[in-house]
Amino acid sequence: MLAVILVLWGASMASAEVRTRIRIIEASNQGALVDPVLSDVHGQLGSLFNFTSYRLLKEVTLSLAGTRPVDIPVHQGRSVEITLLGEYGNLVELRIRVKRDGAPILNTHVRLSPQRTILIGGPRHGEGTIIFAISTRF
């Protein structure tokens, strides 16, 4: 009985999940549309970039646990792979890989504090550019 309790308790301690939200945004100068669902990051985007239009293409919320990579496909052969590397106090360390046709075009390790967003942008998408907005909650 004690062993069962300890195993379950250990499992509960080890299985802390990090909820990660990934938003794939198309930024362009075609029109002046700002997707209402991006209101929380619009100020940030507006202060950094000169785009006039921001459109949410896709939103994914993941529960990251362990070090198993999770791949999120984005169209035109691109994908984003996210791996939880660890938790350090109030920061989580993530490995983010942006891939094109399976090959990584960007490989980064970031430490993210909760409720903060990291923006990864640059890949072209039609007349605009793709921006990945990644934030965590735990």
């Binding site: 109030n90 990584p104 075009i105 430490r111 903060r116």
Partner: protein, 171 residues
């Protein structure tokens, strides 16, 4: 009341109370046909039964058993006055599940659940005081620009489209 035949006296009483066997019944009934004395005895018994039963039947609908209800209510009131310890003891005595000590594994299950749930209550509280940091960034195909605001509230990694310098870009 006329005396019935001594031989049939006991049997007649049992016949009246419907306690005879089929054989005895036919014996008594055959005898009754030819014995006025026993017929008289049987009639006397029926008359006696009527005399005893009639007043009871008459009184029964009128009786509301007030004293019985009073007694029951008193007993319930006494039950209400039980201390909490007595109530628990009585409840445990009456509950077969608890009498079988099933509560031991149930309590163990609750403890396990608490152990599992507790870490979630003591989980780190999200705080925005610590800045986000880019530990490492690398691209074999693109030039990369990293921008972090001084406060650490904005972090941007930008892939610059166009061929990267040989050997890629790393920071």
């Amino acid at each position: 009341m006329k005396e019935s035949c001594p031989r049939f006296s006991k049997l007649l009483e049992r016949y009246f109370d419907q306690e005879v066997t089929d054989e005895e019944r036919s014996l008594v009934e055959n005898h009754l046909q030819g014995c006025p004395s026993c017929q008289e005895g049987l009639k006397a018994m029926e008359g006696l039964r009527y005399l005893m039963k009639a007043p009871v039947d008459e009184a029964d609908p009128k009786e509301n058993f007030y004293w019985v209800w009073q007694k029951i209510e008193r007993a319930i009131q006494q039950e209400d006055k039980l201390t909490w310890k007595e109530s628990i003891k009585r409840w445990i005595d009456l509950t077969p599940i608890l009498r079988k000590r099933v509560w031991v594994p149930a309590a163990a299950a609750i403890v396990i659940l608490l152990l599992i749930i507790t870490p979630y209550f003591y989980k780190k509280t999200p705080s925005s005081s610590e800045p986000s940091v880019v530990e490492y960034v690398e691209s074999q195909t693109h030039n990369v620009m990293v921008y972090e605001s001084e406060k650490g509230d904005v972090t941007v990694i930008w892939l610059l489209e166009g061929p990267a310098k040989e050997g890629g870009s790393q920071s």
